[in-house]
Homo-oligomer: 451 residues x 2
């Protein structure tokens, strides 16, 4: 630790520290999701934070490439450029970047999954059902609720076309949010139905553009949608066809409309299969759901929190070309993600975190003077040896500091130790909440009391 | 996902993917350590991967600074330099780096802890007992067992001078390695004893140099040590004094030698206190243990695996100036770390991982044909609803693929479903290991059988 300079410490923008209570709450979310996923046969994997830029670049569009955090090469990177007779003075930032940076931080967990599956395909059991919880990094402008380093949680099935995977993932969604106590509605649609909609309005070639417009429906309303569609040179009739379809509320209504559109019939059939095998109140067909179109090829989900407009708590869909970008054989995949950061905010706002998850040890032993510390420690150790989480307070002797300690660490009981206790071997157990006490307990009494 | 280029995927050097079985084994290590630490009142924290370079630089020595991964600034970073009329052509790599990079990846968990404690001191309960498990990054040359991205696991107590913290940490070390089934010996020494040794040989001012030499004893032997000491211009008498002390095996022997050396008496007293309050066979005083001297100020530990020379499985010590580098008030700290990557290697080599940790779901239902898939799914769902981890196999119909799946995911039971089973509602449960079967079970039978 040479050259110690004193600076006022601060975080890099868009990053966070987590206090012990926050880590406990985040672990509660992670563990709830993990326990459900494991019950369904999903296994956890991990990939590195650092990936080669050749793995990451070109996967997220031009805008995404700009948001990749790039790591500077080690060593004398400029002299390597100079040795190739390249004039550094004339280079732009964009030109020099690939010369001085070969790796970056992962932008999501999906591209690493694609690389992983192609690279390890001989070591994996297919259908490969994996989940992955971990941080990703984006050089986005930080703002409330948006960070440069944040967690994603994805569950995917790779290598099975069966629609029962969609059913399983729907059930997983419902079970996780129910366990967390968050009332959600699960909006579902299919890319196939959106394709059929474009075909029905005779503008198949504009599928991408149309879905971008549909995605804005919430914000701009149906008249706004028509207006945007007219900018795409769609006729009044075409606009009318689309806007009337967007008001469809059930798959039954659609059946007649798509009578002669194969892809539409297929989309309806698939969603019907999922609905039939899931049977849940909060499952909603929503033809206006159009997320991530270029990526998805079948069923798509979005989890919406019923009690406010905080935005999506999760989403996913079926995709067909995941591993293709790395030269893998074309394996169909389907996956969902959990919006962990927003789930945290909802649980916090509605005070839905269970109280016990932030609980520290069960009991704090407080020695009244230094001369009884060793004795106190021995008592505490007996509790620990019996498997009971316990602490000895070795801090400031001020009562207020001790109270703060108990309160901050949510410790349920306190035992104070002085000369009397050492002599008698009898202790007073005080409930830190109710202040009720039990007297004359031996250490065995306390052990059986707290076991 | 525009511009899809097909490239053979590979990892960035010195990084790793983890297969499901590896994640399960790593989680087993983490959970074992966490459970012990929680019992002792330690709480988990998290800090970001990305820190400002001003936080990281100058803390790890010149060599360490070179090993920091630095993140390239976003946007048009070169034009910012040019706008300041700086001639880029004349800059060296070292000069340009601080102009184009403001953040880096954390190098360890200790400097982030110091920043964290100073920044959040009003929100923390002191003594602050925290643990942190997470990846750190170093631009080291990768080699067998050494990675650029690897995990550290640290437990520290900040803000208490009591030696009972040393006792607790010693007990934690012993308990963790015992739970993991790894036979270790815990070597202990004190920086105070090393200081006394230098004073005894009348060369206090050479403390750092002498301990560097002592650290090499294992490799160069006692004659080598003497030789190196002579290079430091120590007289034959001084060399003799040091080399004879290095052969001391017990604190008792030292007591007479340090009779008039205050710091030595203090060091002996402290270690005696820890030994008395710990009482363990595998706790060894080792005067030749000299790790991390510039950093530590009191007791130091090293965990050595008894059955091979794999190197240290952990280490730690008391330090007194942790928060000073960030202008915090001088708080004493003491901490230990667990060498997670090496612990993994030892457990793997000795086959000490419990079998059940890599177990997947309890039972796999295999539909013999597509027409019975929905029925099969319903049966599986009944098990899941009863809390039993279960799967339906939706993959390749080849028997061999199914066997592989069961084997790779360590699934205990198999139930095959065909027309007969659908009709009768009676199933055959086959143990995938012993191949024993039970016939004529209803789904309720299976549920109570596997609960």
């Amino acid at each position: 630790m040479s050259e110690v300079r004193k600076i006022k410490p601060s975080l890099s923008k868009g990053t966070r520290d987590f206090l012990p209570s926050e880590v406990a709450k985040r672990n509660y979310i992670f563990n709830t999701i993990k326990s459900v996923l494991r019950k369904y046969g999903f296994e956890e994997i991990e990939t590195p934070a650092i990936e080669k830029l050749e793995t990451l670049t070109g996967k997220y569009g031009e805008e995404g490439d700009k948001l990749l955090f790039k790591i500077l090469n080690s060593g004398d990177y400029l002299s390597e450029i100079r040795s190739k007779k390249t004039e550094i003075a004339s280079l732009t930032s964009q030109e020099i970047t690939p010369m001085i940076s070969e790796k970056g931080l992962r932008y999501d967990l999906t591209v690493p999954l694609a690389r992983y599956v192609v690279q390890h395909q001989d070591d994996l059991a297919f259908p490969f059902k994996r989940f992955h919880i971990g941080p990703v990094w984006r050089a986005d402008r930080p703002q409330k609720g948006r960070y440069q380093e944040f967690y994603q949680c994805d569950a995917d099935v790779i290598g099975s076309n069966s629609l029962l995977n969609e059913v399983e993932l729907t059930k997983i969604y419902l079970e996780v949010y129910e366990k967390l106590g968050i009332q959600v509605s699960l909006r579902m649609n299919s890319r196939k139905i959106l394709e059929a909609l474009a075909e029905y309005a005779s503008c198949k070639e504009l599928l991408t553009e149309i879905t971008v417009v549909i995605d804005k429906l919430d914000k701009i309303g149906i008249e706004g949608v028509k207006n945007e569609l007219s900018k795409l040179n769609l006729s009044a009739e075409q606009q009318q066809k689309i806007s009337s379809l967007l008001q469809t509320k059930s798959l039954e209504e659609l059946t007649a409309v798509f009578e002669n559109i194969e892809i539409g019939k297929k989309g309806i059939e698939e969603l019907n299969f999922v609905f039939k095998n899931t049977t849940a109140q909060n499952l909603v067909f929503d033809i206006t759901l159009a997320r991530g179109l270029n990526y998805y090829t079948g069923v798509i989900w979005e989890v919406v929190f019923s009690q406010s407009t905080i935005g999506s708590l999760g989403g996913g869909g079926r995709y067909d070309n995941l591993t293709e970008m790395f030269g893998g054989q074309n394996m169909s995949g389907v996956g969902i993600s959990f919006g962990i950061e927003r789930i945290y905010d909802v649980l916090e706002e509605l005070q839905l975190f269970p109280e016990n998850i932030t609980q520290g040890v069960k009991v704090l032993f407080v020695p009244r003077e230094e001369s009884v510390e060793e004795f106190t420690f021995q008592q505490v150790q007996m509790l620990r040896d019996a498997g009971i989480p316990a602490e000895i307070f070795l801090g400031n002797v001020k009562k207020q500091k001790q109270f703060n300690y108990v309160e901050q660490k949510h410790i349920a009981y306190i035992v104070e130790i002085g000369g009397n206790e050492v002599e008698s071997g009898r202790f007073r157990l005080r409930n830190s909440q109710t202040r009720d006490t039990e007297q004359d307990l031996t250490i065995s009494d306390i052990i059986s009391r707290l076991s």
